[in-house]
């Protein structure tokens, strides 16, 4: 069952930017796209662990600030020639608030 936790307002994240959520499984990056959609990914690039939350957001993807890997928000997969994947987490917007599925986060801790 999903347990949606309010983690903040959409306005707390800059457009084409990200903020970090600290969890027991490590930091998650919650992104806001140019079209005001939100996505949550583990804040660790599959390449060398770079903080994706500090990358440049374009379309539905982010470029890792360390070595320019481009990670898709939807699949968590590295784009192009690079090979790797970060976990993604269910997150949604409701009346301007960002809701994160804590159950999914907890499950990934158990796994």
């Amino acid at each position: 069952m999903s347990q949606w936790i309010d983690i903040g307002a959409l306005e707390d994240i800059p457009v084409r930017g990200a903020r970090v959520v600290r969890t027991r499984v490590g930091c998650l990056a919650v992104f806001r796209t140019g079209a005001d959609e939100v996505f949550a990914l583990a804040d660790r690039c599959p390449h060398q662990g770079g903080p994706l939350s500090e990358g440049i957001v374009h379309g539905r993807a982010v470029t890792c600030p360390l070595h320019n890997w481009v990670i898709s928000f939807e699949t968590g997969e590295a784009q192009g020639a690079d090979d790797g994947r970060v976990p993604t987490y269910p997150v949604r917007l409701e009346a301007g608030r960002i809701l994160l599925d804590a159950t999914a986060v907890a499950q990934s801790a158990a796994a």
């Binding site: 936790i5 983690i7 903040g8 707390d12 994240i13 800059p14 457009v15 084409r16 930017g17 903020r19 970090v20 959520v21 600290r22 969890t23 027991r24 930091c27 919650v30 796209t33 140019g34 079209a35 959609e37 060398q48 662990g49 770079g50 903080p51 500090e54 990358g55 440049i56 957001v57 374009h58 379309g59 539905r60 470029t63 600030p65 360390l66 320019n68 481009v70 898709s72 928000f73 939807e74 699949t75 960002i98 994160l100 804590a102 986060v105 907890a106 801790a109």
Partner: protein, 813 residues
């Protein structure tokens, strides 16, 4: 016997419902119609032409007194309903009680009023009904009157355009970065803004209204940043809220709007609702098409027919004469979604289709919306578009046709076909020039001007070259900036200047970007080009900067940051050193390193500690060293005549003066400088981007050195007698580099492309030009020479640098 139907609200939704009902079940109901306005149903969406004076109110009336009489509707206009007694099935008004068998609530919506101080002053209006419209028309009658419209959505812009046509001086304030952000993407928003500005409407985006100023009557609108806009009239058009007060009081289930099921029935089986007051499957609507869909279903329900409303897809058009704008469906980008973008900068046309699988799911069009409904039809029907995909964007005229081979297409163009829209050059001019010996793109440009302005027809001209010359044509190997464009960095820089492109969406649109918002390669470069060329007009976009410049610290491989305070010319004091030592201890800095630029680097600082450590260092008078910036880094010095027995000039003072003048300036890549007090060159000035070596007779200024992946000695730019002139040369050279170099080219790479001779002409020989360059540099410094630490060492930034939420505690519970 006919049942009693009471309708509350005489707007467009209930009007359509009654039309449908009288058609389906004539005589089934005795209808009593209440309306808050003292008039019957009129076409509210046509108020814009009434405001602008293009139509009269009479022309937009939908139902006149005859129509109501003909259908036996008892009209109770201007009579407010104060309550609904559901147990007794009566509605209550000032005139008494009116019984019903069935009740329809169609109370519409209320304009949202931002609760800023002064919102209740005389002269503050909303834009909802005829009375609002008349109030605005009356205000516009005063000569020279000024209007401020708060809200750059559909309604606000229609109000603005109407008021402008009435002769008012109009300013639109919009909170978001681009206009109509709910229905338009940034590119279309940009085109719309340009069009409205050309009509004399001032537009200010990212404008947060702080207060409406005035004594009883409105006098001005003040923003958060203190800017004031004088106003005789303020129109608030920031949005609508479903009007549910009556329904709530009657105990009907409400969320954002009044809840209805698919039959448009509320939580009371005898009460239906339609229109903007309704919430259906979680959605509220403010456009007319869904209201009509609802009205139809409600009429069928009342007529005893089985019907279901399943929600509406919406399409939007802006009703401002001469502005063509259309959007429909879902036009966000995404995985599995592809976009087809067509731009014609010369005509101001932008079209974007969003395709998912074999279906069209969204469309945004500006400038040429003739095919809008055709696309909307395909979106609604879920048409399989795979067969016509290649030509889909050209609309029904081309649908299903086979795509032409580009070479065949160019061959098929008639001689008089216009190839370059900017300069009006037709095909035969170009082929003629090629036959006359212009065998390269540059030669064709020089001869005919084709593709020399916006550059978007470059591909076509190249195809003509290839077609006319065959194998004799060798295409140039210009490297495009990135996958978003075919233009090179140099092309883009030139076009940003010559076409006065002053925002990111302006560049994307006018230069035909292939993506909707760029990528990590082009965005930082564009951000730099725009701020370097338009320091006063362009607003820096932190989200288009690499992390180091966004955070004002260097990211390290473990995700921590380094902090480097400036030490002017490498000179420090015990007090500064003490402050640095204290900060290093307080924030558990694991490594303190002396850098090659004569200052101290604190490595391993946590991102969330940055604002606090900056505040501490600021206290001791230390500012950011920009050790992370594509900008001025350090000016290294030796002790010069102060202490050294060989020193010929005061190199330390000159170095400090240069650093104090130039810190904070953004450049295409990092810039390191040095001043050595004698040719022994202890400050290593001969391998810097700019290096000065002092001699007995003056100052030798060298440029284009390097000591990184390439090692290069500086080349002599010029020699001056005074320190002031040396400084001028350095500043003018840097400004020339700022204005012309490709992003991420260090000065030596740029010099290799443009040649030192050209640079000398600009900076050394042409004194007027040198002066102008220095002035432009100083102007830019007025904007950008600010200590980023001081600007960010506050609670607000501290909050932003911290995690948005901490779930470690909750998870432990």
């Amino acid at each position: 016997m006919a049942e009693k139907l009471v309708v509350i609200g005489a707007g467009m939704a209930s009007g359509r419902l009654l039309e449908q009902l009288f058609e389906k079940a004539p005589g089934a109901y005795d209808v009593t119609l209440f309306g808050a306005e003292p008039r019957g149903n009129y076409n509210r969406i046509m108020l814009s032409p009434v405001l602008s004076g293009e139509k009269t109110f009479e022309e937009i009336i939908t139902h006149d007194a005859d129509w109501y009489a003909e259908h036996g509707v008892a009209c109770r206009f201007g009579e407010a309903i104060t309550g609904v007694d559901r147990a007794r099935k009566v509605v209550v008004s000032a005139e008494g009680e009116t019984p019903y068998d069935k009740l329809v609530i169609a109370t519409g919506s209320m304009p949202f009023i931002i609760p800023v101080p002064g919102h209740d002053l005389a002269g503050v209006v909303t834009y909802r009904d005829l009375d609002d419209t008349n109030a605005m028309i009356a205000a516009a009658a005063k000569p020279g009157a000024k209007a401020v419209v708060i809200g750059g959505g559909l309604l606000g812009l229609e109000a603005a355009a109407g008021l402008r046509l009435r002769g008012m001086d109009v300013t639109v304030l919009h909170l978001m970065p681009h206009l109509i952000e709910r229905q338009l993407d940034p590119a279309a928003g940009y085109l719309l803004q340009k069009e409205l500005e050309s009509r004399g409407i001032a537009i200010r985006c990212r404008a947060n209204t702080h207060e409406i100023v005035g004594d009883r009557k409105v006098e001005a609108v003040r923003l958060d940043d203190g800017t004031e806009f004088p106003a005789d009239l303020v129109c608030m058009a920031v949005g609508i809220r479903p009007a549910t007060a009556l329904a709530k009081e009657a105990g009907l289930a409400c969320g954002r709007g009044l809840h209805v099921d698919d039959q448009m029935i509320t939580s009371d089986e005898n009460i239906l609702a339609v229109g903007e007051c309704v919430e259906h499957r979680g959605a509220c609507y403010g456009l007319v098409a869904p209201l009509y869909d609802m009205a139809k279903v409600a009429a069928e329900t009342l007529a005893g027919e089985a019907a279901a409303y399943e929600g509406s897809l919406t399409a939007t058009k802006l009703k401002v004469t001469g502005v063509d704008l259309f959007s429909a469906g879902d036009f966000a980008e995404g995985e599995g979604r592809e976009e087809i973008v067509f731009r014609d900068p010369a005509r101001g046309v932008y079209k974007r289709l969003v395709v998912e699988g074999d279906r069209l799911i969204g469309a945004v069009m500006y400038g040429d919306t003739g095919d809008g409904n055709w696309f909307f039809g395909h979106i609604k029907d879920g048409t399989d578009i795979s067969e016509m995909r290649e030509t889909l964007i050209f609309g029904p005229a081309f649908a299903g046709g086979t795509p032409l081979d580009p070479m065949a297409a160019v061959a098929a163009l008639p001689d008089e076909a216009e190839v370059c829209g900017c300069n009006g050059v037709c095909k035969s001019r170009i082929t003629g020039a090629i036959a006359g010996g212009a065998t390269t793109l540059d030669a064709v440009r020089a001869e005919t001007k084709a593709s020399s302005s916006c550059g978007t027809c470059t591909g076509l001209v190249e195809q003509l070259l290839a077609f006319t010359l065959g194998d004799a044509y060798a295409a140039p190997e210009a490297k495009p900036m990135c996958g978003c464009t075919d233009l090179t960095h140099e092309d883009v820089r030139r076009l940003i200047k010559s076409r006065e492109l002053k925002s990111m969406p302006a560049v994307w649109q006018e230069l035909g970007w292939k993506t909707s918002c760029g990528c990590h390669v082009c965005r930082p470069a564009l951000n730099y080009y725009l701020l370097a060329d338009w320091p006063l007009e362009y607003a820096d976009d932190p989200q288009s900067r690499f992390v180091n410049e966004r955070k004002h610290a260097n990211i390290q491989k473990d995700g921590t940051f380094s902090v480097v305070p400036r030490m002017w010319g490498g000179i420090t004091t015990p007090q500064e050193l003490r402050a640095i030592a204290d900060a290093a201890e307080k924030y558990n800095v694991p490594t303190v390193k002396v850098t090659g630029g004569q200052r101290l680097d604190l490595l391993g600082v946590k991102g969330e500690d940055l604002p606090a450590i900056w505040a501490d260092l600021n206290q001791a008078g230390l500012v950011s060293g920009h050790a992370y910036a594509k900008g001025l880094r350090t000016v290294k010095t030796c002790v010069g005549t102060d202490h050294c027995r060989f020193g010929t000039q005061d190199s330390t003072a000159l170095g400090i003066a240069i650093e104090k003048r130039m810190w904070g300036s953004w450049t295409p890549h990092k810039v390191k400088m040095a001043v050595s007090g004698c040719p022994r060159n202890c400050a290593e000035a001969t391998c810097k981007d700019v290096g000065i070596v002092c001699v007995d007779s003056g100052f030798e200024v060298g440029v284009g050195g390097a000591a990184g992946m390439d090692v290069k000695r500086v080349e002599p730019l010029g020699k001056t007698e005074t320190a002031e002139e040396a400084m001028d040369l350095v500043v003018a050279f840097t400004q020339l580099y700022r204005e012309h170099a490709k992003y991420l080219d260090r000065p030596y790479k740029w010099l290799a492309k443009v040649g030192l001779d050209w640079v000398r002409e600009q900076v050394v020989d042409d004194l007027e030009n040198r002066k102008a360059l220095v002035e432009r540099f100083d102007l830019s410094q007025r904007i950008f020479q600010k200590d980023p630490w001081a600007e960010r060492a506050n609670a607000e930034t501290e909050k932003k640098y911290r995690p948005i939420a901490d779930l470690t505690l909750e998870a432990a519970e």
